[in-house]
Amino acid sequence: MKLGIVVSEGPYTHQAADTAYHFAKAALDKGHEVPRVFFYHDGVNVATRLSVPPQDERHIQKNWTALAAANDIDMVVCIAAAQRRGILDENEAKRQGKDASNLAEGFRISGLGQLIEMGIECDRMVMFGD
């Protein structure tokens, strides 16, 4: 089956990004497809490459980046939510006149339409948030 996942809460503050990660891994291990993960609300903060957690803690962004690379997951960060919270790729940084970008590898910034499209195309959709 095709399972779509939404992460709508920030990393470290809330468990949602962790639960979603374990769920995605388990789904892939069972042979399901996870074509896309959509990050919304504070969930967009998972996508900053500037996060530096202590060595004895999990690195949420790196975990997602690795999982996506190994399984060809399209990780989409909502542009409207990202702009509010200062998550920018190089193009957006240029477009908005900012001096830096911070989007981690494996994520891309796009519109909410990608969330609706995921709902249309996946057999099931699961939301993780607060």
């Binding site: 709508s8 919304y40 969330l115 499209e117 709902g119 249309i120």
Partner: protein
């Protein structure tokens, strides 16, 4: 519309204290372009999103309550509000703002978008969906 999916946007949180209500509305406005069957559910504290006379000047936050009245333009015409949730909060349907849509097929007659439903009806509506998004 036969291959359209039924999308339900469930709103259970009050506005302004957190951003969920506003960002839910943003999703709905985009979703309207995808020609799916869109319904909104307001229950628990979500009913507070629709109260009249919201004025945010003093808190310096954008007042997005007028945007609900634009939903008809976006062909979003089903706003289900749970009666028990209103009752529990001492609210009455008349405490909610009027939201209408214009029926093109009936000479643009204005029809109410807000439909007050019982908890049991809300459960039926939820059980009748293809995709449920929660905010």
């Amino acid at each position: 519309m036969s291959d359209a999916k039924k999308f339900l946007y469930v709103n259970r949180k009050a506005p302004y204290g957190t951003i969920y209500a506003l960002e839910s509305l943003e999703v709905v406005l985009i979703a309207a372009a995808f020609e799916q069957d869109v319904s909104l559910a307001f229950l628990d504290d979500g009913v507070f999103q629709l109260t009249r006379d919201q004025s945010t000047d003093a808190i310096g936050v954008k007042n997005f309550s007028p945007t609900f009245r634009a939903l008809g333009d976006y062909e979003v015409t089903k706003l289900f509000v749970e009666k028990e949730s209103l009752d529990e909060r001492g609210l009455d349907p008349s405490d909610l703002q009027e939201i209408v849509w214009e029926d093109e097929e009936e000479d643009w007659e204005e029809k109410p978008s807000i439909r007050i439903v019982s908890r049991a009806e809300m459960a039926d509506i939820m059980a009748d969906q293809d995709v449920v998004l929660s905010f």
